[in-house]
Amino acid sequence: MLAVLVLHTAAALLAPVLVRALGNRALYVLALVPAATFGWTLFQEAPLAEIYPWVPHLGMEMALRMGTLAWLMLLIVSGIGAVVLAYCARYFDEGDPALGRFAGIFLGFATAMTGLVVSDDLLLLYVFWELTTVFSYLLIGHKGEQAAGRRAAMQALVVTTAGGLAMLVGFVMLGHGAGTYRWSEIVAGPLPEGSAVAAVLILAGALSKSAIFPFSFWLPAAMAAPTPASAYLHAASMVKAGVFLLGLMGPMLAQAAPWRPVAVVAGVVTLLLGGWAAMRQHDLKLLLAYGTVSQLGLLTVAFGAATRTAALAGAALLLSHALFKAALFLVVGIIDRQAGTRDLRELSGLGRTAPVLAGIAGLAVASMAGVPPLAGFVGKESLFAAFEHGGTADRFVLLALVAGSALTVAYGLRFLWGAFARKPGHRSMELPRPGWAFLAPAGLLSVAGLAAGIGASWLDGVLTPYADLFSGPTGDHLALWHGLGLPLLLSVVVFAIGGVVFAGQLQGRPWPRQRLPQAESVYKRLMNAVDRAAVELTGATQRGSLPFSLGVILVVLVILGGSTLLFGGAPWPTGLRLWDTPLQLVAGAVVVGAALVAARSRRRLTAMILVGICGYGVAVLFVLHGAPDLALTQFLVETVTIVMFVLVLRRLPVRFSARPLRFTRVVRTVIAVATGVVAAGMAYVAVGGRIATPISVDFAEPAVSFGGGHNIVNVALVDIRAWDTMGEISVLVVAATGVASLIFRRSEALQRRRKEQGGQATPGGAWLRAGDNPEARRQSIILQVVARLLFHTIVLFSVYLLFSGHNAPGGGFAGGLVAGLALTTRYLAGGRRELNAAAPVDAGLLLGAGLLIAVGTGAAAMVAGGQVLQSALVDLTLPLLGHIHFATSAFFDIGVYLIVVALVLEILRSLGAELDRQHDVAAREERRALERQKEPV
């Protein structure tokens, strides 16, 4: 059975490709998959069980089991699936672009349905159940551009998913009570506790799936789907899932009190209301849809009653309904395609022009009406017999069944008349003759209904093992001839009433309007309420203003953080020292002063410089705390940041715009001060909160023995917490790419950039590239020469930092930043030409190379048999250099170094060189415009 599922999945995935390659013929190939399943199933002996482990620690498994009912359903699902797929090859236009998608979803649905009927594990069943819902959603919404289709799809999805969720709760209650989720084991044990509630919940799922009252409204709307999909999903297979569940669980859950009454009453109501509504329809497809609703009600009565005879009748009806209803839908599809309408007021005289089609439809309708010797008759006779001998309640049910069946006869006749009869006042329509390949699928299904009726005794033989799961008198069988008795008499009555009703309607009596008291209005009101609530909530919380949102977050921080500090019971430290060294006071005072002035400054450059001073001050605090690596990195980052800001701020206005109003200024200040106080309080308490021994006391020894370095911070970055660093350098790569894409606005700009960089590498140029360029006039030649002379020394120093970082302050970050500053010096001194001369490479290339090296180091460790990013110690003796001891994580650090260099380079190219160029272009255009203005004068 697993093989069947895998085969279906593969076919679903391949379908779009196959359709693109073969066109509509691909559907015949695809139809082979369900056809093969059908053939395989036909020769299987139920029950069949397979179990595969799936999620062992959750107790979930792929427990598959095919009992008799599942066997029957699998035959229906695969057989009708194959026939409908073959039909699709003619239904869809050759070259329809949506066909590949349709075929894939269709087969995906077939997979889910197959899985649903063979699942033994309830959770697995639920998964397949919801998958059918999703695929059904996609098929109903096949024409996604039409609002009606989208709405119908959403309705079906919401209704059946809501029912499905209720069912899941029911499953969990059952599984929890029984201690296993495998249905075959649950059913073998006693009725678990709380089964009554579980039964109601499961009924909710089953009834909503099968479009039983009060959930019927979604099914007629679902007719927005293409007709083959309606034939398969909404007549033959998916809607049967609910009925199937009733049949599967009935043997056990019917013992729970609410099961029988709820199912039978809902079924009876649906049977009558559906039949009634069908009499009013003018669209043939809708007529069939309401007929389907009605028939599903009949099936629900049969399985819900849960007696032996009723179950036997239900199984036979399940088969016969699938055959005749799919056939009728296919017939409607043909009429729709050939005549261009499905409205029975417009169709006329098709019976004469398309006699074969009329014959096929007639046979199917006869089965639906229960005419002997067709399958429908066999099932209905048995169902009448099931309620023949009961008490008063059964009598009422029997009465309703007779009434419902009479309606079925009436709307069946209405269908035949509407589709094929010649109507007075209408000319006979000329129908383009449908090809045999188009007719054959429908004909096959109709004839199968006849065969199943004639082979009633064989059917009885294969279905009896299922019926025997139920209690009840064992004498009843499926047969064409039961002898003269009440059921046969009732059949005659049904035909008579049905005929009279239809004749009455034909005489022109208007069919009384019946407002189906459905849950549809509840559904609409609910969806509207959800929408309104979402709008109100969003409108109230998302005010669209960044300061407002940030303010709310900070106020929450103040309130929550502050109250936790005050009342949270955290131990407050007892003492307070002023400082560790007086130097801290000096650095702290600088930081405090600079920060306060920066916050009040209205000039961009002033604010920036003050923020930079803050950063340097913090770096000094790092040194005093015993963190030289931090201090080094902070100094370098702060310098790069200042350069960046200056590069951008030279283009922006001198002052910050839009001085906020007084009121908001006050609010802002209050929030700011409160946040500051809470943060200071946290700092005060946090010191005392450190109770446990820090994990890092154990870092020192492994840093040397495993990491091969003495600088714990650096070893941690490239080894102990290397994954963290990996994430960080990825962020840098993204940021650098983002900067470039924001500044180089068009792709031509990017191409020009590449050319410029390539052109600078030619040998024989001037020593100073800024050279005779006009822009060089603005630059100091002395500065250029000094920068040029210092450049290599600085780069060499950066490489030293990179490699010494393992044992002393430094490392890839610090080294990369120093190299970046060397490039910055060249750029500041000589402009973009000097920069390109200093680094004649594309920054993107460097970024990629760095990331490749870093990832490669990690992967190499894995290839060598270690963990990802694990480092190894290598001792080498090289000529000239002598003995070398290094860790492989040094390569990782090289990757980090390259990425940081590339980031700085990208910043210089974008925020520096490209802004220069854009400025030059703008200035030149302005000059030209001025000259043009002067000329005419």
Binding site: G544, S545, V591, L661, A679
Partner: protein, 155 residues
């Protein structure tokens, strides 16, 4: 550990100054506020570990070494801040080049939803009802409208 007053004051001031700048609309100013806030947060993390000699094995006795773990985290934070600063600066410049200023504007879609809420209407995305009139064409507010907070202040 006894708390150190200098650190506590510095952290408080950095947070306060940072927050007051972050709550503004000019993107460069917001960015500067973020940098100040970041420095404050880094110091706060640093306080979680003991001060001492640099965490380099062999420089001194292991017992006097500063806690390396907060330092490792802060180092990552510092460099990420650099990347973020570069990106936001580019964004600020782009905003200036396109619209002549670097201010963060109110979100137009948020405004539209607020107006729907004021008119007690649904979004119309639930697809159930056709009777709801579509939102009038002039629903999105002009983008240069003052922010709500300022509007209130003006009153």
């Amino acid at each position: 550990m006894t708390p150190n007053l200098v650190y506590i004051v510095v952290i408080g001031v950095l947070f306060a100054a940072g927050v007051s700048m972050v709550l503004e609309r000019s993107l460069t100013r917001v960015l500067m506020g973020m940098i100040l806030l970041g420095n404050g947060v880094n110091l706060l993390i640093l306080l979680g570990g003991e001060a001492g000699t640099p965490p380099i094995v062999g420089l001194g006795p292991d017992e006097e070494m500063a806690d390396p773990l907060p330092q490792i985290m802060i180092l990552t934070a510092i460099v990420i801040t650099l990347g973020m600063t570069a990106f936001l600066l580019a964004l600020a410049y782009r905003s200036w080049a396109m619209s002549g200023h670097d201010e963060v504007q109110d979100d137009v879609e948020d405004r539209r939803i607020m107006q729907l809420a004021e008119r007690d209407q649904g979004s119309g995305t639930d697809d159930t009802d056709h009777t709801d009139a579509p939102p009038p064409a002039d629903a999105p507010p002009p983008t240069d409208a003052p922010p709500p907070a300022d509007r209130e202040a003006a009153r």
